[in-house]
Symmetry: C2
């Protein structure tokens, strides 16, 4: 493989001059620029990313820190990873995948080895331990997820609170007065899954404002259990004729449960749901819903961390992506 020296020789200039046209940071005469570019093409030269990184202290690589959680590991992850990598590339960055079960040590090692310029932390929870090495080293990073205390780190997420309000409003607007709130498993809230907590709080508050009674049902993330539990609830005498679902497993199994009981949507049962876009696609979920926005979130996340790398002194930002309702006619109008 050709080096910058080969190009310099071929073009009859110095290595610094070649470097100048490469980086574009220094003025170069049009003539010499042409010569250099010809040499580059002739030798099909390409700059050695590692060498450049050593010289500039910039790896042009982002570390994406995956937090694997059995209860959440969903089809959504791949969509985020691909979207992040695509967005990073657009900005000239590569993506290093960090999947170590101990996310803290994954971050620490990447910092120690100076492998990345910044981090994208996926699936951030309250008091996420991965924040520790980040906050300590002051390394550029962005959280995907919105904990109460971001510790001065940029953060981004879908606006789950707004999503909760939108879905509650939709039920209330159609005249519903009560609904079963199908939640994630209790442990997920305890573990601080920020999206679950934010959604729940906003939904409950808005529901009380709109006089919609929400009956909580803690769901499972095991498909079979989710299905059984939905079936139990739906066949319970006096159970609400509407469902507000925030639980991917339940959303996926709900069509089965409804089927089991012969409940037509929306005639006999109304449904609104918040779930991952990928889930909706895979299962062809027929519910009026708010869906995750992997591409929008990924692009904004990359933007934030790239900006942070450029200027570490900017004040930290917390960005919420506005959710939007996908109307699929799964809510009936209740005559008042």
């Amino acid at each position: 493989m050709a080096t910058i020296g080969d190009v310099a020789r071929e073009a009859g200039v110095s290595r610094s001059t070649v470097s100048s046209v490469l980086t574009g940071r220094k003025a170069v005469t049009p003539q010499t620029k042409v010569k250099v570019e010809a040499a580059i093409k002739k030798l099909s030269f390409s700059v050695n990313a590692g060498a450049r990184a050593l010289a500039t202290s910039r790896t042009m690589t982002l570390g994406v820190v995956v937090r694997f959680h059995e209860a959440e590991f969903s089809p959504a992850l791949a969509a985020y990873l691909v979207a992040l990598s695509d967005a990073a590339r657009e900005s000239g960055y590569s993506v290093l995948l960090l999947t170590e079960p101990d996310g803290t040590s994954a971050v620490s090692r990447a910092i120690a080895g100076r492998q990345v310029d910044g981090f994208i932390l996926l699936n951030v929870v309250e008091d996420d331990p991965r924040l520790e090495p980040i906050a300590q080293s002051g390394h550029p990073a962005v959280l995907v997820g919105m904990p109460h205390d971001t510790r001065g780190v940029d953060a981004i997420d879908l606006d789950f609170a707004a999503a909760g309000r939108i879905l509650v409003d939709h039920l209330a607007d159609k005249g519903h007065r009560e609904a079963t709130f199908v939640r994630w498993p209790e442990e997920l809230y305890r573990e601080g899954a920020t999206y679950a907590i934010r959604f729940e709080r906003a939904a409950l508050q808005r529901a009380s404002e709109r006089r919609l009674e929400l009956v909580p049902l803690s769901g499972s993330v095991a498909p079979e259990e989710a299905r059984a539990s939905l079936r139990r609830e739906l066949s319970r005498p006096g159970s609400p004729r509407a469902l507000l679902v925030h639980n991917d497993a339940a959303a996926a199994m709900l069509p089965f449960a409804l089927h089991d009981l012969g409940l037509d949507v929306p005639e006999r049962c109304s449904v609104v749901s918040l779930h991952s876009a990928e889930l909706a696609r895979l299962y062809a979920l027929p519910f009026t819903s708010v869906e995750s926005e992997p591409v929008g979130v990924a692009q904004a996340a990359v933007e934030l961390v790239v900006r942070r790398i450029a200027s570490s002194s900017d004040p930290a930002r917390s960005v919420l992506i506005a959710p939007h309702l996908v109307e699929r006619g799964s809510v009936s109008s209740v005559p008042s």
Copy 2:
């Protein structure tokens, strides 16, 4: 951050000596080794991966080339990515995610920038264009997928042919004489999806040997369509009472379709299926099946490419992972 020079000064030795204890490639007196290690710990020194890469021409990074295909993009991808990254780390490698839609240029750019020591090509098809820059540059690589012509590159995959035979045998052993073969969409075979082709060929051949008549049904990958098409087929008068499924969308929707028609499994309809492990988990698929082996495949893939990096002259290997049947009682015995 401390450098090797800082450590050398702290320990009162030369940088070469520090390097020797770091790499372990040269003998060092126990005493000096202790001194150096103390200094390393005191300064919490860690070697700069980029600098080492420049000096050794080894990046210790693997490029994972994702081929995004609308029809196949499934929950399976994340499982492979995580498993690959985990396996790589075990071997001391990091993983760079390459998601460029044009996989060829992704590979070329990673080679040009000398960003990786080797590649793992996911979801390889017949005449995969990504093979071109690999074959040309002689870069270490492993194909996940088994094209006819691997062009001298190592390859690994689940043994889809064996899987086809296992499933056909299972039906035949239970006395079935005919079954609907739910296939992938036609285009997938045309595009050279090697797993689809290998499965089909072996299943057809074994079926003819076992006198099991297979009635092909080309499935869709759109869930709604898959469901409708299954319903049509199952309600067609005289349609077989057994299904051999190789199509993730169809496998996912099959429980719905069976439900729609009130067909109990295995009493009124027998089912065997080959699908991704992740799909089975997400949908709690209740079918006797052969499932993909993301962890096994990923580990073997990393092993192969790491071996190849170490010794480029070894003859190329094609490794098939033996599939195994997960019995879930979805096949009835037919009295002969």
